[in-house]
């Protein structure tokens, strides 16, 4: 199968284009020569199946960051049949250097000048025919966002694929060290093919930034926006989640119970109380997940995240981190795994490790499910969103405390230089694609971990057969009693302990496990919890769940990225200790105050 590599600088709309080309049907895979995973997708092009690989965005082919090395090693060991180079047309004068670097490798290249619509607004005119002639490669103007120019580009790609790759230079590096030659050629092409006005007209981004990056309005605005976003997710998502939960509960009593009525009691229990209750409870969160990632996609694609880095850098510097670390924390609100991988842009190992140490405290969407469910069950509708927000504050608090404690061990003097892209309005299509990707990812996880997890929970809480289901004489009850001395001081009973053990694998299992333990779903599970726990216990449980450890995938990612098992073990031990300490302080002081 022919292989197309997608190359370009960061912020060129490369991933948007990749999503458009593959229709969101991408998979994560390993490649020879590199240790990180890349996204790839197969599409039908000109009658043949071709594979497209989305390489990390880089500024420089001979740079020193991990991403730049990944691209170099990938090209070296997996010579693509075509390099599809995406440049941001509004920044053509500096992005062309990467293109010329790639041209020197003698690769088969098709050039796409993305964001042509934006460039026009800046008054930049590009003669793509002239440029194609001078560079001796096909050049197309397009807008990845709206798809203009896309069909023509696809045709050219299909055509270019018919010719074999001219050949790959042996000594990659030595070829690339011809900066002077590059600069002269760049100036020549720019002079003849591109016209840029001397004075840029004031752009909408400038006007927005005057408010958003205001010296003293900027930070309050930022926190205000975040608060409103999370309020909206909770207010919209929570009723949806209850509604889906109820619908799934109804399905059980109306259709499933009669259907399996002929089975022996233990098989019925395993299927209905174990598998169905567990999976249904987790599935009820799908609307919340969709909503959450729609909002996340909006914030990420808007260009506001780099503004957050700008606003927060001074404060992050006091913790031995930088503005990017703060953005990673925000990304971690979605899922800790990509946030951990995002630290690759940092060159200093100390800075990277310190950032990876705090990311697991970021309240990810899986933990959000647990908190949404428990706050809805134990707090009044007016108090629930405030309780939820307080958990976000604890999430930041744990990260800040950890960074302050360990910044001495992970000292660095990494420079902080970051591009500030203009604001962009994400299109509905982009948001929906992103939402769909996240949901399919969630469902894949659900089918693996969660099914196995809830079945195991059911077995543990129902075996040996003579025991009372969920009672102290079951295996789970015995494990719970064993750990009781450890969890009693923080107000967590035996049943919740079991849920926490499974939460170590994936936080999505926690509520599923509770559903299995209590044999209830939806509203009924909520009231069962409300009967068993008071709010102090519930809050202590949530604090522990927030801090004690990210999921197994996050730990595995952490180990891979840090290339150190010791570091991963240290993260687990520290977060367990901190979780216990915070829950202990909260639980004991609340009790001492008479709550």
């Amino acid at each position: 199968m022919k292989r197309i590599a997608l190359l370009g600088m960061p912020n060129t709309g490369k991933s948007t284009l990749f999503n458009r080309m593959t229709g969101g049907a991408a998979r994560v895979g390993n490649w020879p020569g590199i240790t990180v995973e890349l996204l790839s997708g197969k599409i039908l092009l000109g009658g043949d199946m071709v594979e497209i690989i989305d390489l990390p965005g880089i500024y420089d082919l001979h740079g020193f960051s991990d991403d730049e090395q990944v691209v170099r090693h990938f090209l070296h060991d997996n010579v693509p049949d075509l390099a599809l180079v995406i440049l941001n047309a509004t920044q053509i004068e500096r992005q062309m250097s990467l293109l010329l670097q790639l041209k020197q490798l003698n690769l088969n290249v098709v050039v796409l000048l993305n964001m042509a619509d934006e460039a026009r607004k800046y008054g930049i005119t590009i003669d793509s025919k002239k440029m194609a002639e001078m560079l001796d490669m096909p050049v197309f103007l397009l807008s990845g966002k709206y798809g203009n120019g896309y069909p023509e580009a696809l045709q050219a790609i299909a055509k270019a694929l018919r010719y074999p790759t001219p050949g790959m230079a042996e000594q990659l590096r030595s070829q690339l060290e011809q900066d002077e030659h590059l600069e002269a050629e760049m100036a020549r092409v720019l002079q003849h093919a591109v016209q840029i006005p001397a004075q840029m007209p004031e752009h909408l981004s400038d006007k927005l930034d005057r408010v958003m990056l205001h010296p003293w309005l900027g930070l309050p605005l930022f926190f205000g926006i975040m608060y409103l976003l999370f309020q909206a997710i909770f207010l919209l998502g929570q009723p949806l989640q209850l509604w889906v939960g109820d619908a799934l509960g109804w399905l059980r009593s109306a259709a499933l119970e009669p259907a399996v009525g002929w089975l022996p009691a233990i098989a019925q229990g395993l299927l209905l109380d174990g598998l169905y209750n567990g999976v249904a409870t987790v599935a009820a969160f799908v609307p919340l997940i969709i909503l959450f990632f729609l909002f996340m996609a909006m914030v990420e694609d808007s260009g506001y995240l780099s503004r957050a880095a700008f606003l927060m850098d001074a404060l992050m510097a006091k913790m031995g981190l930088d503005g990017r670390g703060f953005v990673m924390l925000l990304m971690g609100f979605g899922c800790n795994v990509p946030a951990l991988m995002g630290t690759r842009v940092m060159r200093s190992r100390s800075l990277r490790l310190l950032t990876m140490l705090i990311i697991p405290f970021s309240l990810c969407s899986a933990r959000l499910q647990v908190f949404v469910f428990i706050t809805a069950a134990l707090f009044s509708p007016a108090a629930a969103p405030v309780v939820l927000f307080s958990l976000y504050l604890f999430s930041f608090g744990a990260a800040i405390l950890t960074a302050l404690l360990f910044k001495g061990r992970y000292q660095n003097n990494e420079p902080f230089v970051l591009e500030l892209p203009p604001y962009r309005l994400p299109t509905l299509r982009q948001m929906l694609l992103r939402g769909w990707q996240e949901v399919s990812h969630f469902l894949r996880r659900a089918s693996k971990f969660i099914v196995a997890g809830v079945v195991l929970v059911w077995l543990l809480t129902n075996l040996p057969p003579a025991a009372t289901p969920g009672g102290t004489d079951t295996i789970a009850g015995m494990i719970g009693s064993l750990l009781h001395p450890l969890f009693a001081p923080i107000g967590i009973d035996e049943q919740l302990t079991i849920a926490l053990i499974f939460g170590f694998v994936a936080k999505e299992i926690v509520i599923g496990a509770l559903a299995v333990i209590y044999g209830q779903v939806g509203d009924a599970l909520g009231s069962a919890l409300a009967q068993q726990l008071d709010w102090v216990q519930a809050y202590s449980f949530m604090l522990f769940t927030l801090i004690y450890t990210p999921c197994l995938s996050a730990i595995a990612t952490l180990r891979n990225e840090a290339k150190s098992t010791r570091f991963a073990a240290f993260v687990i031990v520290w977060s367990l200790a901190l979780a216990w300490l915070v829950s202990f302080l909260f639980y004991q002081s609340a009790r001492a105050l008479g709550y």
Binding site: H62, F310, D313, P421
Partner: protein, 86 residues
């Protein structure tokens, strides 16, 4: 051009000294190789016009503009870039 260049090297005015709204021409970048390459990739090269847009509060980073590219960098890094005004 040469006269102003010499003048600014002698007085060693850096990007960190500029105020929001000031424009200047980059004279030289005194940074280690990796930072130098990165700044170059972002369009910061000697001879280029650079405008200081704003500074973040609490002595935070600077926002500068080179052509159509906006870049943020810390004062530490800005102090490594000598410029001449006008």
């Amino acid at each position: 051009m040469d006269a102003t260049l010499n003048h600014s090297i002698m007085s060693s005015l850096t990007l960190a000294h500029l105020h929001p709204g000031d424009s200047a021409t980059i004279v030289a970048i005194h940074a280690e190789e990796s930072l130098h390459l990165r700044l170059q990739a972002l369009g910061l090269r000697s001879g280029k016009r650079i405008e200081l847009i704003r500074q973040a509060s609490f002595a935070g980073p600077l926002q500068v503009r080179i052509g159509t590219t906006d870049v943020m960098l810390r004062r530490n890094e800005a102090a490594k870039i000598t410029v001449c005004k006008a």
